[in-house]
């Protein structure tokens, strides 16, 4: 039962119930759709760059608490970061949610650490990474559509 409260922490539920940076982003220069066909989660991520920096990131869509909260936290975490810094953060985040939990807390991750509980629920890891895959797709190829079932 404790895993449950590790998963649905207060901070995660707060991001789910009041997602940050939710809505359109007029004048964005990168965007992508993400889809998890297993649970029907759909997300649209938009990015406005300032030089190499992610000046603003917003998202829309519908999904479960994990995917919505993850997207919400992501938009805050990557803001102001360079592309390569954002991708490096994705790597650390992925290590957090797919690891065995033995690694020491990664201070760099900040609030994102609250999603670590998902590692106890392997069926839900894709929910947590959907927004990040979509962000990466938007940066790599504008207008891309990614699916959690693409073997990424």
């Amino acid at each position: 039962m404790n895993e449950l409260y590790d998963l649905y922490q207060e901070i995660l539920l707060d991001h789910y119930k009041r997602p940050r940076n939710f809505g359109p982003l007029p004048g964005c220069d990168h965007e992508a759709d993400g889809h998890n066909p297993l649970c029907g989660d759909r997300i649209h991520v938009r990015i406005k760059l300032a030089g190499d920096r992610l000046d603003e990131v917003r998202f829309e869509g519908s999904g479960c608490a994990i995917s919505t909260a993850s997207a919400s936290m992501m938009t805050e975490a990557v803001r102001g970061k360079s592309r390569s810094e954002a991708e490096a953060l994705f790597d650390r985040f992925r290590a957090l949610v797919t690891g065995d939990g033995s690694a020491p807390a990664d201070e760099e991750l900040g609030e994102l650490v609250s999603l670590g509980g998902v590692r106890e629920f392997p069926m839900r890891v894709k929910c947590a990474t959907l927004a990040w895959h979509t962000l990466k797709a938007a940066l790599d190829q504008p207008g891309a559509i990614v699916s959690t079932e693409d073997g990424r």
């Binding site: 039962m1 539920l13 649970c39 608490a65």
Partner: protein, 420 residues
Amino acid sequence: MAIGMANPEAAAALDFAALRREFPLLDQAAAAGRPLVYLDSAATTQKPRAVLDAERDFYERCYGAIARGVYRLSAEATALYEAARGKAARFLGAAAADEVVFVRGTTEAINLVAASWGRANLGPGDEILLTGLEHHSNIVPWQLAAAATGARIVVAPIDDRGEVPLEGVARALGSGRVRMAAVAHVSNALGTVLPVAEITRLAHAAGALVLVDGAQSAPRMPIDVAALGCDFFAFSGHKVYGPNGVGVLWGRRRLLAALPPYQGGGGMIEEVRFERTTYAPPPQRFEAGTPAGPQAHALGVALEWLAAKDLAAVAAHEEALARGAAERLAALAGVRLIGTPRARAGVVSFVVEGAHAHDVGTVLDAAGVAVRAGHHCAQPAMEAFGVPATVRASFGIYNDGDDVERLLAGVARARDLLAR
């Protein structure tokens, strides 16, 4: 038998607590102090010891190639395999064992008919009638057949209750071009029991054949293909407490006899020459490759095990659990039933307002309650209700009222935790 007429007194005669102890997985979980509330029998059922023993016994006592060898083991294995065919025929009320084709499951059974019958009988302008409740496995094979032949799909819609009104069936049949009606007996997504005998009557009057997807009805009610009147009936072994990887297609003898092969290979031929091959009669014509002997044998044992339980009592038990769960869920603030059919088998679908089905499923999982969350391979039905996914609780022979209590408690918790 109409499920709505189930006799509650019959249910009392069966000792369901003792039955539950016949399932090693459930029994061991309980013994380890982690009792499992397994409410996903519509996806797959747990296996009783008798079925597990039967499969192992086949391997240990008489394992050999089916219908291939001249040695004693092969003969014994073949005899058990064919005996299982007879058991399946009896389970279905079929006229003869050779009307039973062993396949991998319901999906392969429907693909077989759609490909084999479809290729030989469908043409441009012909129609295939489905209902709005169908599982993807009773949609996609027909779409493939339609694409290959120029036929098209027509759909009898569902109503607000999640039932398929006969008027919609009759209207679709009114075109006079429907050649096949392929309908679920029980909706896997909503639990609706469809009036397949009536649909069959209408379809036959309009000159169409009828395939019944019995994946959800075979485990839940007595089946009598003669009384249903249908032409094909398909079900899966793993959903009737039997093993994985085996299922049954039943078809009328004269229809099977007229069907071209589905897959080519060993065992389905009379004589092979490079110029010309002649095919074995049914059912062997449709069983290319080495048969799944131990699985078919264990399926036969599962069907006997189930049929010995008084299926009317089993149906009444599961219907009572599903109805009780549906009524209690509907009364829970923030919970909405998806599908309120008047005739319901052991399946209940619902959503918790403001919470995603997968989150509800995870909260229930943490409480030891296993349910399905998702679109249940029935996206058109989900769309009709305007939801991407539901939580589905489905009952089996091993469930009881305590399981309903734990489901309700878990759903209330999920709602309190997640609802916005």
